[in-house]
Symmetry: C2
Subunit: 179 residues, 2 copies
């Protein structure tokens, strides 16, 4: 079945730094009209980075939207025309100071397809070499390392709450087991 919604009108509400907002008027399959509130977002890339001895590199940072500090995989916005895999490696280096010699694609996902265009690309990085981290002056984060198996336990026990982090750890486990 094809329930595609035709855009009849698009009202730009806000154009911002990391997101924009528009309200589209769409024609539904029953020919009625409805409004769709849509957040335009560049998309992001995140990376499960594993050291030689199976330590997972994580970052802890304050997330204003949810008013708490979250533990997450290194991640960040994909720049216009940037390859997601390169964005993941760039963010890994900037946030944690690690370069990697091997990068594998895990999966793409939509965090909130009900209202947001955001797509997140997940990777697995191995062969890590320590360089210098390089945060911009509005980024404050703490780098953590915990055994990968402990991270997996934390996902299963509900101790991590960030979608990309939970998904990436579960998918990395399956990816490595399938080899």
């Amino acid at each position: 079945m094809n329930y595609e919604e035709r855009t009849m009108e698009s009202d730009k509400i806000y154009e911002g730094h990391i997101l924009s907002l528009r309200v589209d008027t769409v024609e539904l399959p029953n020919q009625k009209y409805s409004k769709r509130e849509i957040v335009d977002h560049l998309g992001a890339a995140g990376v499960v980075a594993l050291t030689e001895d199976d330590q997972l590199v994580l970052v802890k940072q304050y997330r204003k939207a949810v008013e708490k500090s979250l533990i997450e995989i290194p991640a960040g916005l994909v720049k216009t025309n940037e390859e997601p895999g390169l964005a993941a490696q760039r963010e890994l280096l900037e946030e944690t100071g690690y370069e990697c010699s091997q990068i594998d694609f895990l999966a793409d996902f939509y965090p909130s397809p009900g209202f947001s265009t955001e797509k997140v690309h997940l990777f697995l990085a191995r062969g890590l070499v320590k360089r210098e981290a390089n945060l911009d002056d509005t980024e404050f984060l703490e780098v953590l390392q915990i055994p990968f198996e402990e991270a997996l336990r934390k996902v299963r026990l509900g101790e991590f709450n960030d979608a990309k982090t939970m998904l990436a750890i579960l998918l990395a486990k399956d990816f490595m087991e399938a080899k």
Copy 2:
């Protein structure tokens, strides 16, 4: 370390039907100010619904934000003061016509904590009994059933791209194996 950001000012940009947008001015740990663009969202509940013979109940619907049809677990917005578990059961019934006699909590997650307050609550529903679906007149969707193990394979192969669907299926697998 505490990197909490203090709100100095909050500008309401838009107040909508399923979301609102504000731009907060925050004080960073280095005493500088920065802007945070934040989407306020009620939150959602989603449910892995399994029939007696291990078929997973899914819904296929057009998602305007990403301009494509996605296959997802039944889910929807949590109403003000509604228990997430009851929201999950309500949405399951409205979208697919199934009631359940058993519901277990799987996990909570933040789809996009970088800009959105949205929290999603995931459940596992069993003991399904077929009643009548009841969609509102702006909702168009198709109900599908596939074996749970096939759904799990599709997550691992990257054939499902909705965060809550991928996470819920992977976590339901672990939940049932742990019993």
